[in-house]
């Protein structure tokens, strides 16, 4: 139950605004007291020295959007910082092909990695990987997307955001911006994607709860891409010209919507946009008045992932879920915190 321990309302994360080096670093929300933990002993592996062991990182999608670029870079940077030789960090990229990711990871296990950091493309479908990893006692840390399996047996822990929670927070922000009424459109992510599913669920649930007067009149996939987001919004504006708010499940689609709104002659603020990710472009959009708010999904997993692994191999207990506290941007902090956007 990741959702149980999330406290979402206040965004007073200890902003690291001053020091640019650590700008936007991930912060762990708070480990729920009494939640299940996992130790090296429970897991059943042996101690590994990260400085000499082979480590595998499996990226799911091409490093072609800010989130993925920042995520991969963060892992590599942290490894370098810890003095791990480049040859010891194997990285693979599944190019959005799930089967490739499975075989990528299996091949890394075969090649003797002692720790796996995985950014999964999909939450289900990891059976064969777990079987293989379990046989060799390789701990798996999944980042950004959770895998539907048993922690401490199938994998070690999950570090990341709570996507459903992100959807809820976006709903809160949009409801507030609209004064709890109006017509809202959802730009869905790629169909079948867990992120899409959870961000949609969280958003819809929360809207129903906090602002039942808001009508969800339109939901179409924008494939997480700017171009599709723009196209769909253009169609939307023609058939539902009285739309008041747009919830974009990532920043790119939100930015596409912004271009479409401009093209349709709308002024900044006519239609409120709320999106998720926290990229520079979207945060800048808040400053320009097009976006009402952006919920962050922090991709800088490197430090936390390696910290967790180190602790684990030192015998410390590791919580089953390490939920990071995503910040959020709105007009109050968009200008000042622009530097911590990625």
């Amino acid at each position: 139950g990741a959702g149980a321990c999330a406290k979402s309302e206040d965004s007073d994360t200890p902003a690291a605004g001053g020091a640019p080096a650590s700008a936007g670093a991930q912060v762990v929300q708070s480990a729920a007291p009494g939640a299940a933990t996992c130790t090296l002993e429970q897991f059943g592996g042996s101690k590994v020295d990260l400085k000499t062991a082979k480590i595998g990182f499996s990226q799911s999608e091409k490093e072609a959007n800010p989130f993925r670029i920042a995520e991969t870079q963060s892992i590599k940077d942290e490894a370098a910082k810890l003095g791990i030789p480049t040859g010891n960090l194997l990285t693979t990229n599944a190019n959005s092909q799930f089967n490739k990711q499975i075989s990528d990871v299996e091949q890394m296990i075969d090649s003797g990695v002692r720790l796996l950091v995985i950014a999964p493309l999909n939450s289900d479908g990891w059976d064969s990987v777990f079987a293989k990893a379990a046989a060799k006692k390789v701990p798996i840390i999944t980042i950004d997307r959770k895998i539907n399996a048993t922690p401490c047996r199938d994998y070690l822990t999950f570090i990341g955001s709570n996507f459903e929670e992100q959807g809820k927070r976006a709903a809160d922000k949009l409801a507030a911006a609209l004064g709890n009424k109006g017509q809202v459109a959802i730009l869905l992510g790629a169909p079948g994607n867990n992120v899409t599913t959870l961000r949609t669920k969280g958003f819809k649930d929360q809207i129903a709860k906090v602002a039942p007067d808001i009508k969800l009149v339109f939901e179409q996939t924008g494939q997480f891409s700017r171009e599709e987001g723009q196209k769909v919004t253009e169609q939307l504006l023609q058939s539902k010209s009285d739309i008041n708010g747009i919830y974009a499940e990532n920043d790119e689609m939100g930015l596409g919507a912004e271009v479409a709104l401009k093209g349709a002659g709308k002024k900044a603020g006519d239609v409120k946009i709320v999106s998720i990710d926290g990229t520079k472009g979207a945060v800048q959009g808040i400053a320009d008045g097009w976006f009402s708010a952006v919920i962050e999904s922090n991709p800088r997993f490197g430090p936390l992932a390696f910290q967790t692994a180190t602790k684990f191999f030192n015998g410390e207990p590791i919580p089953a879920d390490i939920i990071i506290s995503d910040r959020e941007y709105d007009e109050s902090n968009a200008k000042t915190d622009l530097a911590s956007a990625y």
Partner: protein, 317 residues
């Protein structure tokens, strides 16, 4: 043996293949007029035209290639390459950036054309290599990063108006006219069709077949790179990983639904435009009625089948 009636009867029979796609458009428009609010508003029609323009431009090139009994899978990658190059050269001015991206199109076309015409690869295989590798190259060039475009001149091409019509639509319309003219009135056009009809015969007739084929692939790639730079201009950013994704399938669909046979020897330019428009209207209709993407895909499948079934050449055997 052949009389006047003989010549006329097949023409009547050919009505459906030739004009079926237009009839389908009319039906769809009528449906929308009845059931979709605001459909006939100029702003809506305008959006449909803008959205269909890049597909039309790519499909024009595809139609030429298909006319030679070929196919070009690499068009999406060419769009990505063009998109990736633009921000790199925008510093030297819009014209420089446009020229460089068109040049990329020329180069890709030369590679494709050479593989098809000189090496003798099957077009689908020859262009598969650049379909895979081209986008990789684009991502290498762009460093994988999406770049915002702030150049007003370029953005004007994507979102500006000229005499009440979007620039995109002007450009697409102009290219349609040019391609139609090339196909109907030029030596190159006739040769292209002859190659599609019977390549060895055309070769023996002394037509420089290889040169014509290479030119066709170059034209197709150049049209794709134009579409790529217009896509950049329109979304005001360059995203080599997303631009032109799967457009080869849309383009082929437009060409075939428009009545151009995959077996070559014939090119229907206006039909291609209509094919693209039909598919655009289908998607728009589904979106406007807020139907899920699964049903959009199934309806598209059905329309492709119906259109091609109506247009198929009946084997008299």
């Amino acid at each position: 043996m052949t009389t006047e009636t003989v010549a006329i009867r097949p023409r009547l029979k050919n009505w459906l293949p030739a004009y079926g796609v237009y009839a389908a458009i009319v039906l769809l428009v009528l449906y929308n007029v009845a059931f979709t609010p605001n459909f006939l508003a100029w702003s809506n029609l305008r959006i449909q035209l803008i959205q269909v323009a890049p597909v039309v431009i790519v499909a024009l090139g595809m139609a030429l290639v298909i006319g030679t009994e070929g196919i070009d899978l690499s068009v999406g990658s060419v769009m990505a390459l063009a998109a990736a190059l633009i921000p790199l050269y925008l510093g030297y001015g819009v014209l420089a950036a446009i020229l460089v991206s068109l040049l990329a199109g020329v180069l890709v076309g030369l590679v494709n054309g050479t593989l098809v015409a000189r090496v003798g690869l099957q077009p689908i295989v020859a262009t598969l290599a650049l379909f895979v590798g081209g986008r990789g190259l684009a991502l290498v060039i762009s460093g994988g990063r999406l770049k915002d475009i702030r150049n007003d001149d370029l953005i004007f091409l994507g979102s500006g108006d000229f005499l009440g019509l979007p620039m995109l639509v002007w450009i697409a319309a102009l290219l349609v006219l040019v391609v139609a003219f090339v196909v109907r009135r030029t030596v190159f056009g006739r040769r292209l069709l002859a190659i599609g009809g019977n390549r060895p015969a055309t070769e023996l007739a002394g037509v420089p077949v290889k040169r014509v084929l290479i030119t066709v692939y170059v034209l197709c790639s150049v049209l794709a790179s134009i579409a790529g730079l217009l896509a950049v201009a329109r979304i005001q950013s360059s995203d080599a990983s997303a631009v032109g994704l799967l457009i080869e399938l849309s383009a082929i669909t437009a060409v075939v639904v428009g009545g151009t046979p995959l077996t070559g020897g014939r090119v229907r330019v206006l039909g291609t435009v209509a094919g693209a428009l039909l598919m655009q209207l289908v998607v728009a209709t589904m979106i406007k009625h807020n139907l899920p993407s699964s049903s959009t895909e199934m309806v598209q499948a059905a329309i492709i089948l119906i259109a091609v079934y109506a247009a198929r050449e009946r084997k008299s055997r």
